[in-house]
Symmetry: C2
């Protein structure tokens, strides 16, 4: 486990807010949806190298429950489900923007000695606008 997911009693607001994004992939999911606006399950999966269907589905469910993402199911023959950020999710993402900037710096430093994906270099890691 990477983070420390829990729904326990919170000590403060930050604690509670952080809990909403506690999960190895939630930050990345937020980033993906923010960057692309709308994303299908398979697309998200491809965007998160290493994630398993189980974890992706679970995190998506939790984030939906937390009102961060919107899940739109299209009743078609080839199943199609699209995910996007809710207003709430966007607000959270915006709040996370500054963190992204700091994180990007961290990536460059830590990346040198611990390895880091370079996908982040492709876009503005702080919070890319969706074109």
């Amino acid at each position: 486990m990477v983070r420390a997911p829990r729904r326990g009693p919170y000590v403060c607001g930050i604690d509670a807010a952080l809990d909403v994004v506690s999960g190895k992939w939630k930050g990345a999911i937020l980033w993906e949806l923010h960057a692309h606006g709308v994303r299908r399950f398979a697309e998200l999966r491809r965007g998160l190298p290493g994630v398993s269907e189980k974890m992706l589905a679970r995190h998506l469910r939790e984030m939906e429950k937390d009102g961060l993402v919107c899940r739109e199911v299209h009743a078609e023959v080839p199943p199609r489900v699209e995910y996007s950020l809710t207003g709430h999710g966007r607000t959270l993402d915006q709040a996370l923007g500054p963190l992204g900037v700091r994180g990007a710096e961290r990536m460059r430093r830590e990346g040198s000695e611990e390895g880091v994906v370079d996908v982040a270099e492709a876009v503005d890691v702080a919070g890319p606008s969706r074109g």
Copy 2:
């Protein structure tokens, strides 16, 4: 030894930034230090109901290593160590401010059905000024 907290490859800046505060008590520690400015080990411990010395010490070390907190050791007969936020830590805390507001709302909702400490009510959960 304790294997270094998985600073694995990050997918994006947000991911990297979130990793710095991943740990059950880091958010609360940040909040405590922000609220009080300077805090001794024992004080922090009392401020974080339920935390163990091990976890408090470990998280503090990690946060120090990440440049979030400053650790000042006073070579006195009764050992005294004081912790405070570094400029970096304050920046992070500020970025977390908006999250705190959202988290506070969450606490009120979730709190009703999951229980929540009321210490948050005592101060501005979003980011109390230390006056």
